[in-house]
């Protein structure tokens, strides 16, 4: 007898994407998946905020003007998070762009929710 496997269905919604990467949201898991720098990584609420903080904190302008011969790499390590990124300056700029777009979309989604809930409640 043949058994049918039921694969739990996870629905992803694309929050924002650029030609360098994308961020998806999973409503059922309450988390986000970041497709960037060749890997797909899962971030919960706390870790997504920590990633945002870590990336936004990098002074890109300062790095560009800095002419020392140190490596052009940044390690983005997030406490209590399984993922870590080793990014070049160019990748950091791309990552920042991706995050900025994502948080703008999340903000927009929040505004819609806020207005809708107040009318239907």
């Amino acid at each position: 007898m043949q058994q049918t496997l039921t694969v739990p269905k996870i629905n992803f919604t694309e929050v924002f994407s650029t030609k360098n990467g994308a961020i998806y949201q999973s409503d059922s898991e309450g988390c986000w998946y970041i497709d960037f720098a060749g890997k797909l990584a899962r971030f919960d609420y706390r870790n997504l905020l920590k990633l945002k903080k870590a990336v936004y904190q990098i002074d890109i302008e300062d790095r560009l003007l800095n002419s020392t011969k140190s490596a052009d790499l940044e390690i983005i390590f997030i406490c209590a998070c399984d993922h870590c990124y080793v990014l070049s300056l160019l990748q950091i700029i791309k990552m920042k762009e991706l995050l900025q777009g994502t948080f703008t979309m999340l903000e927009l989604n929040h505004i819609i929710f806020d207005r809708l809930h107040r009318i239907t409640a």
Binding site: D27, G30, Y45
Partner: protein, 176 residues
């Protein structure tokens, strides 16, 4: 798409940032008052030293009140590091001038947070801030009254000794 961030936290990131700045400001106030207490004590103004010790404790309470509120609402409160605290004052009067300046700047920054809350229609935080506005009425009143003692009593002769004695008696008891 669900609004996951809203489920986790009531505060917008802007309001959260502003509240964390206020936490720092209250901590800074507390440190300043502590330093003022030290100066007054060293220079023989015992009543004023007590007054500032009490103020320092109150500011610490304000700091914790906001700190806990941010956490209760699902946000991240940040324990601030405080530097650059003035150690020496040029005169007894300068201490009180600085104290009033400090209270005014606290009121201003609270107004700034409230304005942001109003814009976002964050009525929850706005209501929370009401307690602080009431408190600022008292804080500014006391600081202003203390400074006025310098005019009313005058600093000549035993003036400063008199002023010091009266500082501890300043109380705000408006029912309005």
């Amino acid at each position: 798409m669900k609004d996951i961030i809203r489920v986790k936290c009531l505060l917008s990131s802007d309001v959260e940032t502003l509240l964390n700045q206020q936490i720092k400001k209250e901590a800074h106030s507390s440190a300043i008052y502590l330093s003022m207490a030290s100066w007054c004590n060293r220079n023989g103004y015992d009543f004023s030293a007590d007054y500032f010790f009490k103020q320092a404790e109150e500011e610490r309470e304000h700091q914790l009140k906001i700190y806990k509120y941010v956490l209760d609402m699902g946000g991240t409160s940040i324990s601030p590091d405080i530097t650059n605290i003035k150690l020496e004052y040029n005169s007894f009067r300068e201490v009180f001038e600085d104290a009033l300046d400090q209270e005014i700047s606290v009121t201003q920054s609270l107004k700034n947070i409230a304005a942001r809350c109003q814009k976002e229609q964050d009525f929850v935080t706005l209501e929370f801030l009401n307690w602080f506005f009431r408190e600022q009425r008292e804080e500014e009143y006391k600081a202003r009254r203390a400074l006025e003692l310098f005019e009313v009593i005058g600093e000549e002769g035993t003036g400063r000794w008199q002023i010091d004695k009266h500082v501890g008696q300043i109380a705000y008891n408006s029912e309005a």
